[in-house]
Amino acid sequence: MAAYGAAVTVVLASALAFGVLVWWGRVLGGGSTASPAMATPPERVPFAGGMSPEFHAWNRYHVRYYAMALLFLAFDMEMVFMYPWAVVFVREGITALMEMAMFIAILLLGILYAWREGALRWA
């Protein structure tokens, strides 16, 4: 079976490519590119209960999780510091544990401050 693996792959890939080209050619060469299910413009109007929209939906809106994303970035950098620590942790023993605990505790004070200031609330 393994001997035919390459041949099967080539056959399947070329069949797929052929099918894609045929379909693409139909779309390019044939008349309307719209699917027959939604051929006229009124059929393509998005459903909002029967009225059609007057304005574009290309809007900018507030990214409310921005503060949360910045906090995540800061603590992601803390995790980066933990990687080399993890490598030497077993050899260094309790000293390493206490030092990392102090490091994390200082950063945890920052999280507590952000929590009380409402940075974790989105709406």
Binding site: P36, A37, M38, A39, T40, P41, P42, E43, V45, F47, A48, G49, G50, M51, S52, P53, E54, F55, H56, A57, W58, N59, R60, Y61, H62, A123
Partner: protein
């Protein structure tokens, strides 16, 4: 071909996806149809293969109806139930009012090569043509009207920024809103910054055909003649249960909504039929189990609780003074026309009241009123059928009604705009659903219906 026949039969056994549109007087028939096994009422025309129109559609709703018809993907099929002719969609299948629409819903017209032709003309509603040979370039791509539609304007955000604000009309046949309600909202993200309610399309004009029987005909009868209290209370419980099923479906709990509708149909059958009212006891136990399921749903409580608490929405005093019926009682008003009736007082009736006045309060209020109505019906059945005292003021499920005046939905409609302003879209839909509006009832005078 054996396998083809087997597969066709399997596919034919799947429930029919139907997008239903309720006009004036169409809601009772539609609710019964929702319980039929082979029909699935979907929430968007894109998912439906059949458009079902029940009840009378006024002329103001013809254009939105044609738009909805075109938004069904082909091959599509339209069934009009209850009308003799239907001019906006001339190729629809007509089903007479008393007939069963199920065979017409399942039928496929094999003569049409691609299902029904579109009802709206094949013209772009916002035409735009650029300068180049492929339609590109020219005025409008930046700061003008790209592809014919204007870009949105700006408005202040709640954080002091100035961001885009999208004006949108959520139309008369939006499944989560009452049929006929148009909300012109200005959205920033999903926050409704401003809202105005469109004109009621069911407003009567001279020359309109006579009204069908009111949804709450029994309560209108109680204005002038004595009606058994058990029948009144069972009709009230059935109405609130129909509301409960619809509201659960809006919040995504379709199976629980179906359970509520089946219970509503059984309660309505006991209320209307010749059967004795002793069955109210068993219905009460079924409702207890349903209520436990509704209260235990975390998803539902999250959807409802965020709505208009925490300082958004209307203040409690405004809801209490402008609301009616269960909406006012959920805001602390101890007003119920039933407490003026000596027959009710003899049964020990006391109005149920909640104090918060928000969406969650209105849900709790209606659940409590269903329980109270079933208990009253059971007590009235035991006490050899006391009847209500006609006094010109009756407490209908939506609020008090008098012989001369509009239905309670008329007053509740004035709450919608102020209630919804400032809420996020999901909370706005939850708040409107909790009001239990009926646009057709808001436009009709009490007692004007002719029994069909």
């Amino acid at each position: 071909m054996g396998i083809r026949a087997v597969l066709t039969r399997l596919a034919g056994g799947a429930p029919q996806p139907v997008f239903a549109v309720a006009g004036e007087g169409g809601l009772p028939a539609l609710r019964r149809l929702a319980l039929v096994e082979g029909i699935e009422l979907v929430s968007t025309p894109r998912a439906a293969s059949t458009l079902l129109i029940v009840g009378r559609i006024p002329d103001a709703l013809n254009d939105p109806l044609r738009q909805i018809h075109d938004q069904l993907a082909r091959p599509r099929h339209t069934v009009v139930w209850g009308e003799q002719s239907f001019s906006p969609l001339p190729r629809a299948t007509l089903v007479a009012p008393g007939e069963d629409p199920i065979p017409a819903l399942g039928q496929r017209d094999r003569d049409h090569e691609a299902g029904e032709a579109p009802a709206m003309p094949d013209a772009d509603p916002h035409p735009w043509r650029g300068v180049g040979p492929y339609g590109q370039g020219g005025r409008g791509m930046t700061g003008g009207t790209p592809f014919g539609r204007a870009l949105t304007g700006r408005a202040d955000d709640r954080d002091g920024l100035t961001l885009d604000q999208l004006p949108l009309a959520v139309g008369p046949f939006f499944p989560a809103l009452p049929s006929g309600l148009v909300l012109h909202v200005k959205l920033q993200g999903d926050l409704v910054q401003d809202v105005s309610v469109g004109e009621n399309p069911f407003t009567r004009r001279p020359g309109d055909p006579p009204l069908p029987a009111a949804d709450l005909a029994l309560f209108e009868r109680a204005l002038s003649e004595p009606v058994p209290i058990a029948a009144l209370e069972l009709a009230r419980a059935a109405h609130h249960l129909w509301w409960l099923g619809q509201a659960l479906a809006v919040h995504g709990l379709a199976a629980l909504g179906h359970r509520a509708w089946r219970l509503a149909a059984d309660v309505a059958d006991v209320a209307d039929g010749p059967a004795p009212f002793h069955a109210a006891e068993a219905l009460s136990r079924r409702f207890d189990r349903l209520e436990i399921a509704v209260r235990c749903s975390r998803v539902l409580s999250w959807a409802i609780a965020g709505a208009d608490s925490e300082g958004h929405g209307l203040p409690l005093a405004v809801v209490a003074s402008r609301g009616l019926g269960p909406v006012a009682r959920a805001a602390g008003q101890h007003e119920d026309a039933r407490q003026l009736d000596p027959a009710y007082r003899a049964l020990g009736f006391q109005p149920v009241v909640h104090s918060q006045g928000d969406t969650a309060s209105r849900w709790r209020q209606r659940l409590a009123e269903i329980r109270q109505s079933l208990q009253l019906a059971g007590a009235a059945a035991e006490a050899q059928g006391p009847t209500s005292t006609p006094s010109g003021l009756v407490e209908s499920p939506r609020g008090p009604i008098t012989p001369a005046g509009h239905g309670p939905s008329h007053a509740l409609m004035s709450l919608v705009a102020d209630l919804v302003r400032g809420l996020e879209w999901g909370d706005a839909v939850a708040a409107v659903t909790s009001l239990d509006l009926d646009m057709a009832e808001a436009a009709r005078p009490v007692g004007a219906g002719v029994a069909v």
